[in-house]
Amino acid sequence: MTYALKINGTRQTVDVDGDTPLLWVLRDVLKMTGTKFGCGVALCGACTVHIDGVATRSCITTVDSVGDSSVTTIEAVGRTDLGRRVQEAWLDLDVVQCGYCQSGQIMSAAALLASTPHPTDAEINDAMSGNVCRCGTYNRIRDAIKRAAEGKQP
């Protein structure tokens, strides 16, 4: 079955079973490897993408459920001012270590800031709790979200 997906502003057609997780369509079929596999069952957040702006775990999102929605991945999040601000805050505070979880962290953080421009600690916890970092970069992630929140709106 073929599916025409709207990914990072471009239409992409793939021919896979409808129950194929979006994660593997992105990584293996479209060869966009910025979105990561960590657990496969929505427990770690490594695979987070935006679907119509909402942070979504692509590992449990089947390709047939995407429909006409817009998918944004880490490869394109920096095209928006907010996404770029998040990435810059990450760089300013030297957040990353191994970096493997960070695509998902940044996607979750960008979605949080889009809906909640000045999140409290509790709101940060809620939005980021599903994103695991085994390198333990959490304190810098929290600080970077606050730094990005302070950044000037365009």
């Binding site: 079973d17 079929v29 910025g34 270590q97 191994c98 333990g136």
Partner: protein, 729 residues
Amino acid sequence: MIELDAERLPRPVASCYSKKLSRRSLLKVGATAAGGLALAVALPSWSNAAVKENDPALNAFVRIEPNGRVHLTIPSIEMGQGIYTAMSMLLAEELEVDLDAVTVEHAPPNDALYANPIPILRQQTTGASASIRGFWRPLRLAGAAARLMLVAAAAKQWNVAASACSVRSGVVLDPSGTKSLAYRDLLRSAASQKAPAPDQIKLKPPEQFKLIGKSPKRIEAADKVSGRTQFGIDVILPGMKVAALAISPVMGGRPKDVNKAAALATKGVRQVVTIDQAVAVVADHMGAAKKGLTAATIAWDDGPNASVDSKMLVEQLKRASEGPGVVARNEGHFEEAFSGATRRIEATYELPFLAHAAMEPMNCTVHVRKNSCEIWVGTQIPTVTQAAVAALLGIPQDAVVIHNQYIGGGFGRRLEPDGTLLAVQIGKQVDGPVKVIWSREEDIQHDIYRPYYYDRISAGLDAAGQPVAWDHRVCGSSIIARAVPALFKNGLDFDAVEGAAEPPYALSNILVDYVRAEPPGVTTGFWRGVGPAHNVFVVESFIDELAAAAGKDPVEYRRNLLGHNPRALAVLNLAAEKAGWGKPMPAGKGRGVAVQFAFGSYLSLVAEVALDEKSTVKVERVVCAVDCGLPVNPLMIDAQVQSGTIFGLTAALRGAITFKDGRVEQSNFDTYLPMRIEETPRIETYIVPSAAEPGGLGEAATAIVAPAVTNAIFAAARRRIRRLPIEST
């Protein structure tokens, strides 16, 4: 947060800066094919392998391209510890170039060129928190040598004394400061200069450092925040297939029945491969491969280990711990002193099996051809892996090409070749390249686990409460005997007793021994913090027990035993001061302390915990004082303290791998629980200025945090935790 007192910059100490280099040290220079300058530094003591005459130009540590870019081939692999940045800094410091002029490359396997010289490694291994310790001098030497030759080339052109020239950001200035030549314009003539003898090279004194001791940011971060970094799992090759994997749930078991037809009927599935202990479904994409694997409904023959379970394993260890052991240290007369002591205190401590659970699941891409094999994998042991693959395929070692990759968290898991060997066995049956990716469940259930330890410890106190006798028996499996048998000497595993044999305290009449007991059906391996991650928990908990028995304050008690050890005493004092040790805490809260010397670094850590009505432990604050010798990059030091603390804390609170019916009971992040952002305590790092040789720091905080937390629980609730994880007791 980090704090480093910049006013108290390190002073040079003799051991660090005037150490005589071996006369036989090798420094090789050559022109690269592109007209650049290649430079290799090799010290014969690094490895047993000889440096081949024509190697350096090809595989040199350092290469300066005609465009002026400096290429540094990094012997270690980057897995989050920041080593690519730190090593680039060391080189750039002496070469006198800006940090962003340096491009890094993963090193190919080659012990002759890239072995870490520290005695416990002596091969191209990233582990033991040894990268800075091992490469600190060679990298600076390489940078300085290249600079000297470039300056000599410029001086020759100007007909002035080289010593009167200076260098700024890759540009040589003549004595008057009016003429200048960039490195890129000097390469050809520099390559024909005689390489300076290593013992003629004067390294910079610390007061001239421009990079070392500063906090430049991670050089690869921009790629990591934009999804561009290629990890092993991201490798894509023309014609490549991907494979999902099911390994026998019981070690030593085999697939008995596989519904290949059902798997092959899945859209996108190409092939079902069966090997000794596993089944792989090869497909166009992972979605299809996983679906095919489910359709294959594999039945297993469990083999001899089907009845292994945790209770039985612990029982066996407990019996084994009754001894006798192999002596690691024996000073004074323990028996006599113990029986003559005013008070005798004894305890047993237990630590569980642990998985690594790095965020990037195990994976490996292979292309097995008739007489050769090409491999793309993130590995901490490229040369060991290369040799193992060559042996498996019966081909020469140099017919195995390994492309190392960024690793999404190693923690010791990538110190084993098992994942690569499995992929090669599968790849042997596949035409063309195949990427084998483990599911999270496979990753957790087929890890090589941190050993379970069952330790016995006892001490005698005199009338004043001071220890006069100390006996620590370490009991567990030997990783060294399995993984590095050449280093397993006379039945003693030096790693298993590290942190036990040489506690930082003045202890007389000390006896430390080791009982090796191998659990059936479980393979054990290195886990971040290695030996100290278990022994520091036992020793620091027990010192706390002694302080309590003596009715002394835990910090005061330790101070009294550290008079001979000024660096350990200094970190203890700093941590205590910054934590506000002694300030009263509300009911239900407590502070605990620990001290450690491991990996060449001194740490002291104070944890603050709060217990609720149900005695649930919340760690609220961690204060860590670090003396890691000369601090190369304080920002990275803080990152490693944060990282190590959280890694160790996660395990201390709830990390445990258990077995039932030969199977691992945990499978994903719902049963092997990672710490999450909302549970993360505030973590403060304080760095002691020092000019001593740099120590390692990637693992240190992991080892020290558990006892600080359990000691804090004791302070809060008089509850002594002698078996980890905390939440199981």
